[in-house]
Amino acid sequence: MQSELSIVWIYPDLLSTYGDQGNALVLEQRARARGVPTRIHHVRSSDPVPQQGDIYLIGGGEDRPQILGAERLRKDGGLQSAIARGAAMLAVCAGYQIMGSVFGGEEGQPVPGLELLDISSSRGERRAVGELAAEVDPALRLPTLTGFENHMGVTRLGPGVRPLSRTIVGTGNGDGTEGCVAGKIIGTYLHGPALARNPALADLLLSWAIGPLPPVNDEWYQRLRDERLSAVLGDQA
């Protein structure tokens, strides 16, 4: 990190269908609460992706924008350089699929991805829509993952990544796991503002970029989490 934390939001013009801006806003709020000056860079698909960012965010979108986004990122190369340099990234839904070797296009045709994650995705039989809850990989020491998914993707994880979590409710990758993690990259089907429902995940990304963090007032985050988890898990929560 240089003088300020740089959050790079990739292609809001193509991939921000589901409130994806929320992830950028949550990171900004939680960094500033720790006294870290923060800036969000909106990078449109006609602009080059800056290579010096600290945390990269890429969100969800429709089939056509997803294919366009993948093509432009492949040609641009900026994101790949940033990740090689050690930047952190949260890739959501369509953006998550783009990070793999291949994903399913609008007719199910295979479309090449960026190969930043050892995953491959295809179109599933039915749309997975609804609340999701999952137990996170204990090595990450994070509380239960909560969020909303809305996708038709099925994602197979290769040996180069670990599952982010095991689903309690919901579909996720389609094999009982949800999302993946490799180095400083997190991929997830929890679309939109996943970090609003999972502030600990936001802090994990921030700590990758800026080091250990003091705690902050989480009142509204916790109240929303408690309400959602008890609505989805009932007595299990």
Partner: protein
């Protein structure tokens, strides 16, 4: 319409009975159940009821109900009009509306965006009015690029005369396969879903040359292909509408806000296609003060509450434009089926405009909204119920913005205020 075959007449009559029962037992407006009963008995009922009428279909993400009401109000100048005034905008609602006004020579039907191809195929409507497309309840609605594609396929090869907002690139693309289009420059307030060319995916450049004046601000063209904004036939210019003959009409609506001026411009172009001149249509548009509770003011314990409906990010932007920045505001959000069960869209709304106003948050998903406002840095008071919010407020005028079922709950408290 008196020529309906016997089976269709019976289906239509039984549907009306079901609707009456639904209203009498307080279950609802009766528009949906009546139509369902009718369609069960005669699956071809909608086509039969639509035959021999001059019919307009109205579709968009936002403003369907209001624009339908404006068009219907104006058309009454010409004769009886059948319309689904309660916003029941799928085929059952259409059957109900048409069978409730069997002899009306004119009809205007609000149509859900997804159902437009099917309803156009079935009714063979002569006029189709299209206003805007933006992200909306993604857990159950179609993706909008896909939706525009379906509109294109549905309109291609049909004789329908389309009235469309050329300031919305996706609507323009969706409408441009039609045999005949009247373009209306109705403005575009929410642009987050149209930064890319619907034809080729290239970037859309916004803003025209200095010579274009005010029209420059709504101009758009693809940087990479030839797709660009068509020349409008009708133009909304501030408080005025300019018609294809260059005549300027002051709107003077009672409905507030730019979105409603846009709805009115589209309505004027639509009724013009019925042969009704703005001179005769405008006085009727000006009589509309509220639409199914939207924009209405209700009283409780010395407080005058103005009700604004906002179902998606574009709708919130419009509601903020109408809302009086000097007044306290109650925000209510639910996530039932009709609202979309996913509240992600709250993060697409820019709430910073509320800074400095007393804000009260309620509704079934008030905690989602509370966190959203907290992150935006907007102070608020959380209230367990609408009543608690009202009681917490000082006497006087208050604005209320609510999404669909939250709005209906509030409206029901005031005896289904219209």
């Amino acid at each position: 319409m008196s020529q309906l075959p016997l089976r269709a007449q019976l289906a239509s009559a039984l549907g009306r009975t079901a609707a009456t029962l639904s209203r009498a037992t307080g279950r609802g407006d009766g528009s949906v159940i009546g139509g369902r009963v009718g369609l069960m008995l005669e699956p071809d009922l909608l086509r039969k009821l639509a035959t021999d009428r001059k019919l307009a279909l109205v579709s968009a993400t936002n403003g369907k109900t209001t624009t339908t009401r404006l068009i219907a109000s104006a058309l009454m100048e010409l004769g009886e009009v059948a319309t689904n005034a309660f916003g029941a905008n799928m085929p059952a609602g259409h059957v109900s509306a048409l069978s409730g006004a069997k002899h009306a020579p004119f009809a205007v039907l609000e149509v859900d965006e997804k159902y437009l191809p099917e309803v156009l195929d079935t009714t063979n409507a002569g006029i189709v009015t299209l206003m805007n497309l933006s992200r909306d309840q993604m857990d159950r609605a179609a993706e909008i690029w896909l939706l525009a594609q379906k509109w294109r396929r549905a309109l291609a090869g049909k004789p329908a005369h389309v009235i469309a907002n050329c300031d919305d690139p996706l609507v323009t693309w969706g409408a441009s396969t039609a045999a005949r289009v009247t373009w209306v420059s109705g403005g575009q307030r929410w642009r987050e879903d149209s930064w890319c060319c619907p034809e080729c995916g290239g970037p859309l450049d916004r803003g025209g040359s200095r010579e274009m004046g005010q029209q420059g601000s709504v101009h758009w063209a693809c940087r990479e292909c030839t797709f660009h904004r068509p020349e409008p036939d009708w133009v909304l210019d501030g408080e005025d509408v300019i018609d294809p003959h260059g005549r300027r009409w002051r709107l003077d609506l009672q409905l507030p806000g730019e979105a409603n001026r846009s709805n009115a411009a589209i309505a004027l172009a639509t009724v013009d296609a019925f042969g009704l001149d703005p001179a005769r249509a405008l006085p009727r548009l000006r009589t509309v003060t509220s639409v199914a509770g939207r924009y209405t003011t209700v009283e409780r314990d010395g407080r005058a509450l103005r009700l604004l409906l906002a179902k998606n990010p574009a709708g919130w932007l419009e509601a903020f434009e109408v809302s009086d920045p000097r007044l306290p505001i109650i925000l209510s959000v639910n996530a039932q089926g009709p609202d979309g069960r996913d509240t992600s869209w709250l993060w697409d709304v820019d709430y910073r405009i509320l800074r400095g106003r007393p804000v009260y948050v309620t509704g079934e998903r008030r905690l989602d909204l509370a966190l959203r406002l907290d992150v935006a840095g907007i102070p608020f008071q959380l209230c367990d119920s609408f009543d608690q919010a009202v009681a917490a407020l000082p006497l006087g005028r208050i604005d209320v913005i609510a999404n669909y079922t939250a709005f209906q709950q509030i409206r029901t408290e005031f005896g289904r205020a219209v």
